[in-house]
């Protein structure tokens, strides 16, 4: 399916300007249709277990977008999702199904918290400390996922399984240090690294309560959109994703492209981990393993692997996450409710893939020319 995305983008609009528009309409309508269908299915599910679907969707609306507080809460939760969404979308463009975002986020966040310990205790100024933390997280994440990409290229190791295994290993590495050498003795119930302290927190975008991770995510999404659709690097990557053999025959450095795309993905997820530590938790602990990496996969699929589309989709899922707590309290439903909804969306969304190119509405009028 990743190949299709590349196809769609690579096909020049031969049949006049309307073809590009039709493709765009198709790429927007089918995912939205899938969302609506999964919302209806979930409503049936709610009715079946004796809950009120209207109340559910109303709570999602008020909990996600109903007040300025809830909007800011949604944007805050969207920040890591933009970054982990990008972490899936970029390798997908080159034909790799990398699901290691969770591991890169955890390890990025952990390495940032770990490197902060000596810096904070030596009273290095906060801006410099935060910069070093961010760079460490980006580098760790990039190397982590880049290595998986290299395994795929050099050894032909299935990248989907390998990247998920790497996530489990990443979580084990963090637990190993957090429960051992780097444990803050004060963290009795929830083993954590030393807190970085309030002076070292990264703070919010002025005038809001939304931390800087959201801005960073938006900027990175824009940059990666330019990289993937407006540069020769992006073209080469998409071509590799569309047809690996053709790309090789053209003499493209396929392996290098794969490793770089994966490293970018890991860097994005690592950055998400940095913001989780520097803006939310202030230390590394099990809270980093919050499933952002996995929700990011769904975000990227819904965005059809387009970095720009990742932003609004991530905000939507941020709102879902923000509303989760309200739904739990008001409707007495378990916190896994959102997981069920997301799983249903994911399944329906993949089913909707089958409609691309098959709906009459989005096909150019027969002119004898087929793209």
């Amino acid at each position: 399916m990743t190949a299709e995305t590349a196809d769609t983008a690579a096909i020049p609009a031969k049949a006049g300007p309307s073809l590009g528009l039709l493709r765009f309409a198709e790429a927007v309508s089918i995912p939205i249709g899938a969302l609506v269908v999964s919302a209806l299915l979930f409503a049936l599910f709610l009715v079946a277990i004796g809950k009120d679907p209207l109340q559910f969707y109303q709570l999602i609306w008020t909990g996600g977008f109903g007040s300025s507080f809830s909007i800011q809460n949604s944007l805050q939760r969207a920040a890591p999702l933009i970054l982990t969404g990008l972490a899936f979308a970029i390798p997908a463009r080159i034909g790799l199904t990398m699901i290691g975002g969770e591991g890169a986020l955890v390890l990025g966040g952990f390495s940032a918290a770990a490197i902060a310990i000596p810096l904070v205790s030596n009273a290095v100024p906060p801006p410099l400390t935060l910069l070093v933390m961010a760079l460490t997280a980006v580098l760790t994440g990039g190397l982590w996922v880049g290595f998986t990409g290299w395994l795929k290229y050099a050894r032909g190791v299935n990248e989907t399984i390998a990247s998920l295994l790497m996530s489990y290993i990443a979580i084990a590495i963090m637990n190993f240090f957090v429960e051992g050498a780097l444990r803050d003795p004060a963290s009795a119930n929830k083993p954590s690294t030393m807190p970085i302290g309030d002076a070292y927190r990264i703070g919010s975008i002025p005038g809001t309560d939304v931390h800087w991770g959201f801005a960073a995510g938006v900027v990175l999404a824009l940059l990666l959109w330019v990289l993937m659709s407006r540069t020769t690097f992006g073209f080469a990557a998409r071509m590799t994703g569309g047809n690996l053999r053709a790309a090789r025959a053209q003499g493209l450095p396929v392996g290098w492209l794969m490793v770089v795309c994966c490293a970018i993905a890991g860097a994005a997820a690592g950055l998400a981990g940095f913001f989780e530590v520097a803006a939310i938790h202030g230390q590394a602990n099990a809270s980093l393993v919050a499933g952002y990496g996995f929700t990011g996969i769904l975000v990227a699929f819904l965005a059809r692997q387009n970095p720009l589309a990742v932003i609004p989709v991530a905000i939507l899922f941020g709102a879902l996450a923000a509303a989760g707590g309200v739904i739990q309290r008001r409707m007495g439903m378990p916190d896994a409710t959102i997981l069920v909804l997301q799983g249903m969306m994911f399944v329906v969304l993949l089913v909707s893939e089958t409609f691309y190119g098959r709906l009459k509405l989005f096909q150019p009028k027969a002119t004898g020319q087929r793209a």
Binding site: R155, G156, I173, F176, G343, M344, F346, L350
Partner: protein
């Protein structure tokens, strides 16, 4: 020191037998599915949902074996859903696997919430080691009947793939969809049934987790066993008998951390917990480049390409 080593080895033997069973069932299910030419990466979802359903049904009915059966049923549900979606044109089976993983886990967590606290009747083990007179060994040789069911199943599958008409049809569908079609076999139907049956087995594997070892239901019950079992199939080269040995190896690796803890080495417990994942990764790296694996892979499968 010698004594400690023996303790660790016995604990690892017992651990290998205990821990390997879910690996075994998931790997056998995946072997069946992959032999028919389809990948189901989502068996982790079947495993978790199976564990929850088994525990819930066992608790509500008071009969653990009824729980095992229900777990298989939930596995069929997810497997059939996967099989149905994958036969639609332009749908990527790897992606569907990821989706089923999160859907199955989500359902399990949702419906499993009320069952975290109560204690359900568990499966009984067969004490095979009482004659040894060594309590540690006797404890290690407490073997669950499902372990033997798994071994019998592997032998049966090994035989059936070679010697029965059904086995031939599954293999042919996996090796060349075109020749299966030419023989008048419905490729979609064979793959659908193979995926549903594979899901059934993975569900049973989940029942073992919640009803025998570790023997309770909670959200952290399975951490990637389903996924590792899928990777294990490549290592076992789609051979049911080799799946058993691979599962035992993984079981032993999984038992390393707890075994060392039993003699008081708790340093690096979390690191040893990562051993199965690292082992899987190393095995994948080794077997990915191997010519033998390339020879045995079902022709229609894209997992090793």
């Amino acid at each position: 020191m010698d004594n400690a080593l023996v303790t660790v080895l016995i604990a690892m033997l017992g651990g290998a037998i205990r821990v390997s069973t879910p690996f075994m069932f998931v790997a056998l299910g995946e072997t069946l599915t992959e032999k028919s030419g389809r990948i189901n990466l989502g068996l982790e979802g079947n495993l978790v949902l199976g564990a929850m359903v088994a525990y819930a049904v066992s608790y509500l009915s008071g009969n653990a074996w009824l729980g095992v059966l229900a777990a298989g049923g939930s596995g069929i549900f997810l497997g059939a859903l996967h099989g149905y979606i994958c036969k639609l044109p332009r749908v990527n089976d790897i992606a569907v696997g990821i989706a089923m993983m999160s859907f199955g886990t989500g359902l399990a967590f949702f419906f499993g919430k009320p069952f975290i606290q109560p204690t359900a009747p568990r499966l009984d083990a067969i004490p095979l080691g009482d004659w040894t007179g060594n309590p540690a060994l006797a404890q290690a040789l407490q073997v669950n009947p499902l372990f033997f069911v798994g071994i019998a199943l592997a032998v049966f599958m090994f035989w059936a793939f070679r010697n029965t008409r059904w086995g031939l049809i599954v293999r042919m569908t996996g090796d060349s969809a075109a020749s299966a079609k030419a023989m008048g076999v419905s490729v979609d139907l064979v793959r659908f049934l193979a995926t549903a049956a594979g899901g059934f087995l993975a569900g049973i594997g989940g029942a073992f987790l919640s009803l025998y070892y570790p023997g309770s239901w909670n959200q952290g019950l399975s951490s990637g066993q389903g996924l590792m079992a899928v990777a294990l199939v490549i290592f076992a080269r789609w051979d049911p008998i080799k799946c058993i040995f691979a599962a035992l190896l993984f079981g032993a690796a999984g038992a390393l951390g707890p075994s060392l803890q039993s003699i008081g080495i708790s340093q690096g417990y979390y690191f040893f917990n990562a051993a199965p994942y690292i082992l899987t990764l190393i095995i994948m790296i080794i077997s990915a480049g191997s010519k033998a694996a390339a020879r045995d892979v079902p022709g229609e499968l894209s997992i090793t390409k």
